[in-house]
């Protein structure tokens, strides 16, 4: 809502909020008047290193040269909460620095970097601690050793931010769940129990009807062999067999396939024995980066049961739904032709 963003912009009086912490404590803007404050909105359950990062952030601001330790009040606020709405924050990281008069002197929306924290400490020194209408830094004498402490906490902060980024990349399910719960949804539909038959095993899932078969396999069943390329039926990376026929798992909902036999690339080999097509792909260099390979393999193995012509050109036409950005096509065609010749033999 633009008007909320405007009312919480730098140079304006902070909204007349009442903050409630997770532990039940609460505070209003009036109680904060008379001293500068920092309000930090942190998405919950989003960032596994959140608590650690927040502690470092807190320590770093407290230790910043020229900033008295008593000055900042750090709040670990719900970015979906009422106060967040008043500040125009929508589920994101956000930090607001208020001066003693309750005027917003600095703000940042989005994840914090160490540079942002440097900027914040500068803002605290030059603006939040200064009387209104001036930009002169207050006459504060740094405590002994404060510079060193600041540098140490700054390094720790950077380390936790980097760690958080790595953890986030490794846990897409958690990230996705959070983004879904924060999305504006016109209709609420419950997740329902769905049992899929994947590679001969029953896989019981609890999913919403809108979960595609691809997402059900990858994000819920943990079968990440099937790849998500374009997610719009244009690349073939998500190809699986449904009742023996090659289909695109991104263009169908899992809930529609409770009575079907689904085979993914994980189901091609028999134990340690590769499917003939897998062995032929290796023999003929039918891949480079390998991302499209599961889809290519599923398409190629299904092709053996389809009325596809015998020429290389026929194979190319029949395989046109599988895009290989590395251009391993000659190897793919050779592998398929070899397996077809053998199985015809």
């Amino acid at each position: 809502m633009p008007e909320l963003l405007t009312c919480a912009s730098v140079g304006t009086l902070a909204p007349d909020f009442a903050l409630t912490y997770a532990d039940g404590r609460s505070i209003t803007r009036h109680e904060l008047r008379g001293r500068p404050a920092i309000l930090a909105f942190y998405p919950r359950h989003w960032d596994p290193a959140r608590a650690e990062q927040l502690a470092h952030f807190n320590a770093m601001v407290s230790a910043a040269p020229g900033v008295s330790a008593e000055v900042p009040l750090l709040a670990d606020l719900d970015p979906f909460g009422e106060a967040a709405e008043q500040f125009g924050v929508c589920g994101e990281h956000a930090v607001f620095a208020l001066d003693a008069e309750g005027v917003i002197r600095w703000s940042h929306v989005g994840a914090l970097s160490a540079a942002d924290v440097d900027e914040l400490t500068d803002a605290l020194k030059s603006r939040c601690l200064a009387p209104l209408g001036t930009t002169a830094p207050p006459d504060v004498v740094p405590t002994e050793g404060r510079d060193l402490l600041f540098q140490q906490t700054r390094r720790q902060f950077i380390a936790t931010v980097l760690a958080a980024a790595v953890v986030l990349a490794a846990t897409p399910v958690e990230a996705k769940a959070e983004s879904v719960s924060g999305a504006l949804t016109p209709k609420s539909v419950d997740a329902i129990p769905v049992t899929l038959n994947v590679n001969g095993r029953a896989v019981a899932l609890t999913i919403e009807p809108r979960v595609t078969l691809l997402d059900a396999l990858r994000e819920y069943a943990g079968l990440t062999g099937t790849k998500k390329g374009c997610d719009h039926g244009q690349c073939g990376a998500c190809t699986v067999h449904i009742d023996g026929r090659r289909q695109l798992s991104c263009l169908t909902f899992a809930v529609m396939h409770t009575n079907a036999k689904i085979t993914t690339v994980e189901g091609l080999a028999s134990g340690d024995t590769l499917h003939a097509m897998q062995a032929a792909f290796i023999k003929h260099d039918g891949f480079q980066c390998g991302y499209c390979t599961p889809g290519q393999l599923m398409s190629a193995t299904a092709l053996l049961r389809e009325p596809c012509g015998t020429a290389d050109a026929d194979v190319k036409e029949c395989m046109s739904g599988n895009i290989c950005r590395c251009g391993a096509y000659p190897g793919i065609v050779a592998a398929i032709q070899e397996v077809r010749a053998t199985s015809r033999g």
């Binding site: 329902i192 036409e317 395989m319 739904g321």
Partner: protein, 333 residues
């Protein structure tokens, strides 16, 4: 993607009732167009009624059967691959098999159904982009393509409201073959000739067919056609396979002693609906099957074409595509 309620139907009548009762409900069969557009939030149904389970309860919905007069009935749930590979269709109506195999990819043909393919929606990039005005997606918001990037857009059957191309191949072949669409609604069944099934955009591009909400396609009949095996589908696209038509031609031709006795012509990739050209057919009938006559017929077929800039090349391309298709069929033994 927006959440939706998922329901399965116990009969085709039940499915039609369920969708008719809910203005924002949609049928789903293959899902290849619908799921794609739901991800883009171009389609935002509140409820999906899954038709796939009906194949067991009403087998005719998923079968191809020969009609007593030599025609063929294709159940609405028959997958495009199965229609394309069907031996009766390959021998009696090769143009239909060729059109199906020229469309999409092996995977998509295994999913897409005859009924769904008739309702495939345009690939107009403005229609697919909810940030852009589009009269088809949001009536009254304007057409971004007329003065925008329109290389892929239609030159036939357009209006000042919409120039979106009808994307399918199968419906073009069916238009040439004079197919009849069978539908079931709350008030019973009716049949609609395919040429009357799709409508040009006019002032209401949001309306693409004459289907009423809740009416369910149950089958498509291909009427007997003595010279149906003398047919061909020619498709020209930006790459050799797995691309939408820039221009395509479905041709059925009865040539005897070098003279055209009968002709069926439909164009794809250049029009707002599967474009049967009876004018071009009339021009051919009774004339010698020569390149000059074919070229003149192609001129007739494209006589009403309106270029909009980037798509002007399609007029000549469509003519040459049609001449090529006519030549191919005329040369058949």
């Amino acid at each position: 993607m927006r959440p939706f309620d998922y329901t399965t139907a116990t009969s085709s009548a039940d499915a039609a009732r369920m969708v008719a009762a809910d203005p924002n409900a949609r049928f789903i069969a293959g899902g290849t167009t619908l799921v794609d557009l739901m991800k883009l939030e171009v389609e935002t149904p509140d409820r999906l009624v899954d038709l796939n389970m009906l194949a067991e309860k009403e087998p005719a919905l998923a079968q191809i059967t020969e009609l007593p007069d030599g025609g063929v009935r294709i159940g609405a749930l028959v997958r495009n691959s199965d229609t394309a590979w069907n031996t009766t269709i390959k021998s009696r109506f090769p143009v239909l098999s060729e059109a199906l195999l020229a469309g999409a990819s092996g995977q998509i043909r295994n999913m897409a159904t005859v009924g769904g393919n008739l309702l495939q929606r345009t690939r107009c990039w403005y229609f697919r982009d909810t940030a852009m005005p589009c009269n088809k997606r949001e009536p009254g918001s304007g057409c971004s393509a007329i003065a925008g990037h329109n290389r892929m857009h239609a030159v036939l059957g357009t209006s000042s409201s919409c120039i979106a191309t009808s994307p399918g191949d199968m419906p073009v072949a069916m238009a040439a073959l004079g197919a009849v669409v069978r539908v079931r609604g709350a008030s019973g069944e009716r049949t609609i000739p395919i040429t009357a099934f799709h409508v040009v955009p006019g002032a209401h591009p949001e309306k693409e067919t004459v289907l009423r909400h809740g009416e369910l396609i149950t089958a498509v009949d291909i009427p007997a056609l003595a010279y149906g095996q003398r047919s061909h589908y020619r498709k020209v696209r930006d790459r050799a396979s797995y691309a939408f038509a820039l221009a395509s031609a479905a041709v059925v031709l009865d040539v005897q002693g070098g003279t055209v006795r009968n002709a069926r012509i439909a164009l794809g990739g250049v029009a707002t609906k599967p474009w049967r050209s009876t004018d071009a057919e009339r021009h051919l009938i009774g004339k010698r099957a020569t390149p000059e006559v074919f070229r003149a017929a192609a001129d007739v077929a494209l006589a009403g074409a309106v270029p909009r800039g980037e798509n002007a090349f399609k007029i000549e391309l469509a003519k040459r595509t049609l001449v090529r298709a006519l030549t191919t069929v005329a040369e058949m033994a």
